[in-house]
């Protein structure tokens, strides 16, 4: 192993210590955070739906995905509509059509939501599913990534992700195609309550 020789060379060659910059506050345009979040999410190919409660979400989903066979969720209250995810081999999620999970919060400036492993049920689920549905409370939208990282700076998790829109690619002549390897659609339900 070259550990010691690499570290020695680095110590020898690194310049004199320069300080970290002081924390700074960044400017955010004073529009309503939910409105900005909606605009950006739709711009990056996501669907944005406002709903009063879980019952309204369920009704909307049944209309949106009438063909879907396999529904999986990590939310207890959705166990009538979808199967509650169980620990096990992630390969068994291969044929999931719709996955329903919660997000901790959303970020207005880029339309991303923050989801940790415990909210996913399985790390593979938000990626392997054909369609991803995420529930977000209206009170949990922060303006910028700075506020986002203030919320998660000290949190522990095994795996977590910012998810912004459906999977996409523009690798062929810069033509945007939605549905690369992950979900073909992402719907964010903005909720007034958590039930």
């Amino acid at each position: 192993m070259s550990r010691d020789s690499i570290l020695k060379a680095i110590k020898q060659n690194q310049p004199e210590l320069r300080p970290l910059p002081a924390d700074v506050d960044f400017y955010f345009e004073q529009t309503e955070a939910a409105e900005k979040f909606k605009q950006v999410l739709e711009f990056i190919g996501g669907r944005f739906v406002e709903a009063n409660n879980y019952a309204a979400v369920k009704a909307s989903l049944e209309n949106t995905f009438p063909q879907a066979q396999r529904w999986i969720t990590a939310i207890d209250e959705f166990s009538e509509l979808a199967t509650l995810i169980q620990p096990g081999d992630p390969h068994e999620l291969e044929n999931v059509d719709v996955a329903i999970i919660k997000a901790h919060f959303g970020v207005a400036e880029n339309g991303a939501v923050w989801v940790t492993e415990d909210l996913m049920g399985a790390r593979a689920l938000p990626f392997i599913t054909q369609h991803l549905v995420i529930l977000l409370n209206r009170n949990n939208i922060v303006p910028l990534m700075q506020q986002a990282y203030q919320l998660i700076a000290e949190k522990d998790y095994g795996y977590a992700a910012f998810i912004a829109g459906p999977s996409k690619t523009a690798d062929i002549e810069q033509s945007l195609v939605i549905g690369a390897h992950g979900p073909r659609s992402l719907t964010v339900f903005l909720l007034d309550s958590d039930n």
Binding site: Y157, A164, K168, V177
Partner: protein
């Protein structure tokens, strides 16, 4: 520069098809324009760049301690840490991890470091099949070419050519070139790969000393599909990917994708902190010349790079010569200041593949002085005797002419007369400035003559 083709020769080949050059140029400028719109939407853009730059300066100056801190935290998280002095050691580590598990097929998401190390060829020679899962990378892999751009690997390919490749390898209908249909075909093909590979290798965008976690950014979700379905996840990183604290991601994630493609953020910014139960997670920390670059005062700032590709999209030379003309894993302006550190002789041509217009430095999200470094590399390369003979002779001639007013005046007159009376002496293939353009009509006299005539009585 006879055995290996240099940038000028490779660019000349690319320039044969003028229409294609125009298309390439316009496509990349389109991406640059998207970057402008995205960055102009952030009132604090310059403050963000300055903050990012300062964080990276701190990292370079405290690299040893941050690496030790990162290693300790990652180990505590249950991740295995490996150190590789060079490409060969990196590749050997990957192979040994796979062999220990009896794995001979691996899926890989985008990692320019593995391109730098020529990992695919090495594994292939050792009986391990590697499939690249980023769509652009899969396309160039099937075409048996290297990526021509770090963010947009097949930006040099037309959809009809991609259609032909897919027809041959993935069974699409002949002549099919619709990006929607080609992408869907790749989705089906790669889904089978994700579901059957027991090992996945990813790159690393950022590694956090404070927490021992690493972040991978993709739009397609391919890094996650590979990693979450595999028993073994290997992440390869150059040591300069470190940042001190998790909160610093708020600065870099705001800059990275806006600079790269004009998106507000990538679809997925995945934070890997611990292996999932039953999974093995490895990080390979690679030097491969970086510690030497860290010691070069004039060039160490190149290690601040976060690999957004903005300098390529804006570069008038890159856009018109294509990524392959740089004959190195990272093309464009940033590649031209990184590569000579690895091999000054082999890449002696690259710092000269620039107009020094400075656009690269202006768009760089971490404020690397790219064009200054290109200029400084030229001097180092000439001093070390690695520049071509004609270039050295030309430079010496220019030094002579510019340091003597008499020779300067005579040369100017001779040049004007030549352009006027014997244009064929300069409008020929021996003059590189004649390529792709005609020489200008010469002026009647020199600027000094004009000044004497028109500004009589004023002191020149």
């Amino acid at each position: 520069m006879s055995a290996v083709k240099d940038h000028a020769a490779l660019a000349q080949a690319f320039n044969k098809d003028e229409k294609r050059v125009d298309w390439h140029d316009e496509t990349l400028w389109f991406v640059r324009a998207k970057r402008d719109r995205a960055s102009h939407g952030i009132p604090d853009w310059e403050l963000l760049r300055e903050t990012a730059s300062q964080i990276k300066h701190n990292v370079l100056s405290n690299m040893h301690d941050y690496l030790v801190q990162f290693e300790g935290n990652a180990l505590a998280n249950g991740i295995k840490i490996h150190w590789a002095a060079d490409a060969a050691e990196h590749n050997a580590i990957v192979l040994s991890i796979l062999k220990e598990k009896g794995i001979d097929r691996m899926v890989k998401s985008k990692s320019m470091l593995t391109e730098e190390c020529h990992l695919n060829d090495f594994l292939q020679d050792n009986g391990v099949e590697v499939i690249d899962s980023d769509l652009g990378e899969r396309i160039v892999q099937l075409a048996k070419e290297p990526p021509s751009h770090i963010v947009l690997p097949c930006i040099h390919k037309k959809k009809e050519e991609i259609g032909d490749i897919f027809h041959e390898h993935l069974g699409t209908a002949a002549g099919e070139s619709d990006p929607q249909i080609l992408t869907e075909t790749a989705r089906q093909h790669l889904r089978e790969v994700f579901l059957t590979r027991r090992a996945a290798l990813t790159g690393v965008n950022f590694a956090i000393a404070e927490t021992g976690e690493f972040v991978v950014c993709t739009n397609e979700g391919n890094a996650d599909m590979g990693a979450h379905l595999a028993d073994v996840h290997i992440a390869s990183m150059g040591f300069e990917k470190l940042i001190p604290q998790r909160k610093h991601l708020s600065v870099f994630l705001r800059l990275l994708t806006r600079s790269a493609t004009g998106q507000p953020i990538t679809t997925y910014s995945s934070h890997f902190k611990k292996p999932r139960p039953g999974q093995q997670m490895h990080i390979i920390i690679v030097d491969n010349g970086r510690s030497i670059q860290l010691g070069r005062e004039d060039f160490r700032n190149s290690l601040k790079c976060i690999r957004c590709g903005a300098c390529m999209n804006t570069c008038p030379v890159y856009r018109r010569s294509g990524g392959h003309s740089y004959h190195t894993a990272v093309a464009g302006p940033i590649g031209s200041i990184l590569a000579p550190n690895l091999d000054m002789k082999k890449y002696a041509d690259l710092p000269f593949a620039s107009t020094l217009c400075g656009s690269c430095s202006n768009v760089c999200p971490v404020k690397i002085d790219i064009h200054d470094q290109l200029y400084k590399w030229r001097q180092v390369i000439v001093k070390n005797g690695y520049s071509t003979k004609t270039k050295t002779a030309m430079m010496k001639g220019m030094t002579l002419a510019l340091s003597s007013p008499a020779i300067f005046n005579i040369s100017g007159k001779a040049g004007r007369l030549a352009l006027k009376f014997i244009p064929f002496a300069v409008n020929n293939g021996l003059n590189p400035w004649y390529k792709q353009r005609d020489m200008p009509t010469p002026p009647e006299g020199s600027f000094t003559d004009w000044y004497k005539k028109n500004r009589k009585g004023e002191q020149p």
